[in-house]
Amino acid sequence: MAHLIYLCLFWEFFQVGLFSVGGGLATIPFLADMGRRTGWFTQAQLTDMIAVSESTPGPIGVNMATYAGFLTAGIPGCAVSTLGLITPSVLVILLIARFLQRFRHSRGVNAVFYGLRPASVALITAAGITVTRLALFSPLNWKAVVLAAAVFLCLQIKPLGRLHPIVFIALSAAAGVLFRF
């Protein structure tokens, strides 16, 4: 039975890899859903995961899978969940590599992605709402609300917005300690 958890992890992350389209943050809604269904990690842990993934090198989706795998099944979990996540990408690219150009210009493929992209951004927005509700409003944390608003405004200003996220994450951690969030 002990091996069953690895099988579940692989299958869950295989689905994330197959259905999340458009970069690392697209994995968040799938992970939020996974946490709710399986109880492997809480939504608060998911938020920590996002912060760690943004502050370490490597693709964010892979970092998230590794972290979730660790919380669920330790070091072997890291490897299994990451393999699950990347297997669909590898299979798809190996399958279409021969006729890549034709695939890219296929009207059918473009049509599907025309609808898939807004759906994917909507899912990320919904996950963002969940994370925000949890981090700022349950219970209401005024200091955190002010900090989140300040960081958001800074990110919209051109030169500041180009700074690496790790700068904002480190400063926010310092603010959290300093003002006892």
């Binding site: 370490t56 898939l116 759906a119 909507a122």
Partner: protein, 180 residues
């Protein structure tokens, strides 16, 4: 150097040098894979990204698989992919193990409360950027609103939302007579 280990090591280096996901990886890939190794051209790399956006999964993984496959077939694709994820797995494994040790300390709890507030701001900034490329006309905007409602209000499964989105996209394009 033998090409197979070279693929693994080069892509592991790309993985280490990249902070912040697939798009941050583009300049690193340009330097390592296009300029230094000359494994692919700039045009091919641009194609990789376009394809990465319209195939499932992590964009960086798609690029690694493509380059590896082109140079050394299926095995090359797999080795390049394992190379690009290897540093992440190692680093995150260490951090996750370490975080468990001190997560219960009061100052760490304060720090993480601050970090969580910051993550909210980061997510919505990314959403604004993504909206510009994804919501390009009125049907796409309507689809975005419907998907948001389905997910945030009614808790529909993300898989279902994604599949429905793709199907609606296909239907809308069909109605427009395959306009390109």
């Amino acid at each position: 150097m033998n090409l197979l280990p070279d693929l693994f090591i080069t892509f592991a280096r790309v993985g280490v040098c990249t902070f912040g996901g697939g798009y941050a990886m583009l300049p690193v890939l340009q330097r390592e894979v296009v300029s230094k190794k000359e494994w692919i051209t700039d045009e091919e790399l641009a194609d990789c990204y376009a394809i990465g956006q319209c195939t499932p999964g992590v964009i960086a993984v798609n690029a690694a698989t493509y380059v590896g496959y082109k140079k050394k077939g299926g095995l090359g694709g797999i080795l390049a992919t394992l190379g690009v994820v290897f540093p992440s797995v190692l680093i995150i494994g260490l951090i996750a193990a370490f975080l468990q040790q001190f997560a219960y300390l009061p100052w760490a709890a304060h720090a993480f409360a601050g970090i969580r507030a910051c993550v909210c701001a980061l997510i919505f900034t990314s959403v604004l950027r993504l909206l510009k490329t994804a919501v390009i006309d009125i049907p796409a905007a309507a689809l975005y609103c419907a998907a948001l409602l389905a997910s945030a209000r009614f808790g529909l499964s993300p898989v279902l939302v994604a599949v429905t989105g793709g199907a609606v996209g296909l239907a809308v394009s069909r109605i427009r007579g395959w306009r390109t």
